[in-house]
């Protein structure tokens, strides 16, 4: 009996191993020739199921919304889409683990800093430049289009939506403190001088922390970068996106001004999400990690879009600059295809991209994101009126002309982000002298460039 049992167990093991081996065997190395280059004569039979991993880009992180979109795609094409929902806290780790295990999804939805600069640059993505014809190139926003292409001319992302990141302010608190005189509520702009006057007024009235330069986390860095860069016109990278330039004296001046300002704290204990929570709670009177998605969010207390938990009005604002004209950080989101070496699945993934980003269905895909279409029209469908029925979105379009350079495609982006956090932490923990701030900036900017 014992021997029979042992034999059965051994056979089970062998079959299990054989099954594992069979599953792994057909997957070729990731650096095999791109499937898109397979000869047309050998075109495979169509894939029936593809996988999509999506970061929480508006309601593209909401299962019910995404299911409606993918079900419609399946009904039209017969291709089923298996969706996994990532978070920004652990999404990168999940994708990287999947890549190393050669189990990457067919499609991933995120921005060029991940799709182009990271996974694309490291050879894991399919070049989808064949999806861009001349009409597409004329319809897609120029900055978004440029960001989807790597320096070698390969395209690793097809853009769907874009937005401008901004600030949020507690308007009721501003009025109460008399700081509303420093903002232009109509144009959503203010100058650097007005910003500091407003912060001082709020600090004098309420005390405590008016706004926090959060210094840690996995995301939200665009807020602190835009704040520092805009105050005195500093830059983050050079125009060619080949080097980091945040050791710019204008940025040092901005950091020093922020450090010296009452009511502005460099807080290494909070991430961007904590900052937003503290803003909703009424603890902070302004948030640097803000965009239209937050503006439309009815918040955890469900008091409604554009309101804090106790009902105070939230007004979105461009970052302050010396002349009141900000260069806002853009967010661009779209789809990329991982090179799994299966031409059928790559072809199906391309169909999915065209369906979502360049068809009459693009309106639904855009609306699901709570952002703005990255193109003016899609296969004859005008996308300029996607949000015509939404007052907040219409108002927010005032910020879109202020979109600045999309530099998140600079080499060593992941290392540069970490260096940026560390630099802010060091500045916040320093004595605030110009020498100490300059040393911190030089040190970490050097790390970003040499990483």
């Amino acid at each position: 009996m014992k021997k029979i049992l042992a034999l059965v167990m051994a056979l089970c093991m062998i079959f299990a191993l054989a099954a594992c081996g069979q599953q792994a065997a057909p997957a070729p190395a990731a650096n095999d020739a791109p499937a898109a280059e397979a000869p047309a004569a050998e075109a495979p039979a169509g894939a029936t199921e593809i996988s999509l991993w999506t970061y929480p880009i508006g309601k593209w992180g909401d299962e019910a919304t995404v299911k409606a979109l993918t079900d419609a795609f399946t009904a039209e094409t017969g291709i089923a889409v298996k969706v996994e929902y990532l978070t920004y806290a652990d999404g990168d780790d999940k994708v990287n683990t999947a890549i190393t295990a050669k189990q990457a999804p067919d499609l991933v939805m995120e921005g060029p800093e991940r799709l182009v600069s990271n996974w694309g640059a490291n050879g894991y993505m399919v070049d989808i430049s064949d999806l861009f014809d001349d009409t597409d190139k004329s319809e897609i926003n120029a900055a978004a289009l440029a960001a989807c292409f790597a320096p070698n001319g390969a395209a690793y992302e097809y853009p769907l939506v874009m937005t401008a990141h901004c600030m949020g302010i507690n308007y009721n608190a501003f009025v109460e403190a008399g700081a509303d005189q420093y903002i232009n509520k109509d144009t959503h702009t203010w100058t650097t001088e007005q910003f500091f006057q407003a912060v001082q007024a709020l600090y004098d009235h309420f005390g405590g922390t008016v706004g926090a330069v959060y210094c840690t986390g996995q995301g939200g860095d665009q807020g602190t970068r835009a704040l520092v860069n805009n105050l005195y016109g500093g830059t983050f990278t050079n125009d060619e996106h080949t080097a980091y330039t945040w050791d710019d004296p204008l940025n040092i001046k901005a950091l020093k001004a922020l450090y010296d300002q009452d009511g502005i704290d460099f807080d290494a204990s909070i991430v961007g999400g904590d900052e937003i929570a503290n803003f909703y709670n009424g603890i902070f009177k302004m948030a640097f990690c803000w965009n239209i998605a937050q503006q439309l969010n009815p918040n955890s207390a469900d008091t409604g879009a554009g309101l804090t938990l106790n009902g105070d009005e939230i007004v979105f604002m461009a970052f302050p600059s010396e002349d009141g004209t900000a260069k806002l950080q853009g967010g661009i989101w779209g789809f990329g295809i991982f090179d799994n070496g299966d031409p059928a699945r790559i072809d199906a993934a391309k169909q999915f991209i065209k369906y979502m980003c360049d068809s009459e269905h693009t309106v639904d895909a855009v609306r699901a994101s709570n952002f703005f279409a990255a193109r003016s029209a899609a296969e004859g469908t005008d996308l300029s009126g996607v949000w015509a029925d939404n007052e907040i979105m219409n108002e927010y379009t005032k910020l879109m002309p202020m979109l600045g350079d999309y530099y998140q495609v600079t080499t060593n982006w992941a290392g540069a982000r970490a260096a940026w956090w560390n630099m802010l932490q060091q500045v916040g923990g320093s004595d605030g002298s110009e020498a100490a701030i300059s040393a911190a900036v030089a040190d970490f900017c050097g790390q970003a460039n040499n990483g």
Binding site: K2, A6, M9, D93, N96, Y124, A268, N422, G429
Partner: protein
């Protein structure tokens, strides 16, 4: 009368034995030995995530770089502080609690065991969220209580200030680490031969003498186990750092485990990260060997 097993039967028995071992052996080789070997091998290469380049053997370059990397040295120093503080505190505190409760009535004893074991079985994310709230700079209960008691007049940024951040992490680590040692010590103390203790007391030994001369030698294997487990756990402190501080502020809470994760999975320098892993393993092995040796001598 002893029945001698025939060679054929013995061979069959051996084969059966090995077949029974096979499943666990396959998993052990596949999920422990192979990754360890790969870790050591890649630590001598410049392995990264770029599929367009091949990993190049670079000898000891990663190890040499480590000793010139100020962040690694800071992380190593922080890790050593965590180990040096948490291991003795966990052992002494858990022995003290176990000594106080092990003779209590079953119901009371169970109550205390549950109280101290609860943080161990609670998910680290849940524990961390609660602690993060308590440490909160703006509305945390610590600042509220300390201000209420007049100890401080301004909120302390517990996790955002390099002076306090590592201490805060160690405090959380202690609360999540004492549960298992207390349970083990309660069990070990309950198993001490009471007749020996009574005999010592009859001979005039006081409580302290009875503890060190009778109980302590008998619970030494448990102590050794607790020391090693706590040391390894302290060296491998990661989740708290990842969830609370990401190694900041200013590397004040950077540990070797977190730096390995950051290097390998954020910067994609697998070879360099694995070199750190090897160094960490050597540290743990060396410290465990010393603990074994000391315990043996004792």
């Amino acid at each position: 009368m002893t029945k001698t097993m025939s060679p054929r039967l013995r061979r069959h028995e051996n084969i059966s034995g090995y077949l029974f071992l096979l499943p666990s052996l396959v998993f052990f080789l596949g999920f422990v030995v192979y990754p360890m070997a790969m870790c050591i091998w890649t630590s001598f290469t410049d392995a990264n995530m770029n599929s367009n380049t091949k990993d190049t053997f670079i000898g000891l370059a990663n190890y040499v770089e480590l000793w010139h990397d100020p962040v690694f040295l800071k992380a190593l120093w922080n890790t050593i502080i965590i180990v040096v503080v948490s291991v003795p505190v966990v052992c002494i505190f858990s022995l003290w609690v176990a000594s106080a409760i092990y003779r209590m009535k079953e119901g009371t004893l169970s109550f205390f065991r549950v109280v101290f074991y609860l943080p161990v079985v609670t998910g680290s994310v849940a524990v961390t969220v609660v602690w993060k709230w308590m440490y909160n700079n703006y509305y945390g209960i610590f600042n509220y209580l300390l201000k209420g008691a007049g100890v401080i007049d301004k909120n302390i940024n517990w996790l955002g200030d390099p002076k306090y951040a590592l201490g805060c992490i160690i405090l959380i680590l202690l609360t999540t680490s004492v549960g298992q040692p207390i349970v083990l010590y309660v069990s070990a103390l309950s198993n001490v031969d009471s007749s020996l203790v009574e005999a010592a007391e009859v001979d005039g030994a006081n409580n302290t003498q009875a503890f060190w001369r009778i109980k302590w030698p008998q619970i030494m294997p448990t102590t050794l186990y607790i020391l090693i487990i706590t040391t390894i756990n302290s060296f491998q402190c990661f989740a708290l750092i990842q969830l609370l501080t990401s190694g900041g502020p200013n590397y004040a809470t950077e540990t070797v485990m977190y730096y390995i994760y950051y290097t390998a999975f954020k910067l994609y320098r697998f070879g360099y990260g694995n070199a750190m892993g090897v160094i960490l393993a050597i540290f743990i092995a060396a410290l465990s060997a010393v603990q074994f040796r000391l315990a043996k001598e004792d």
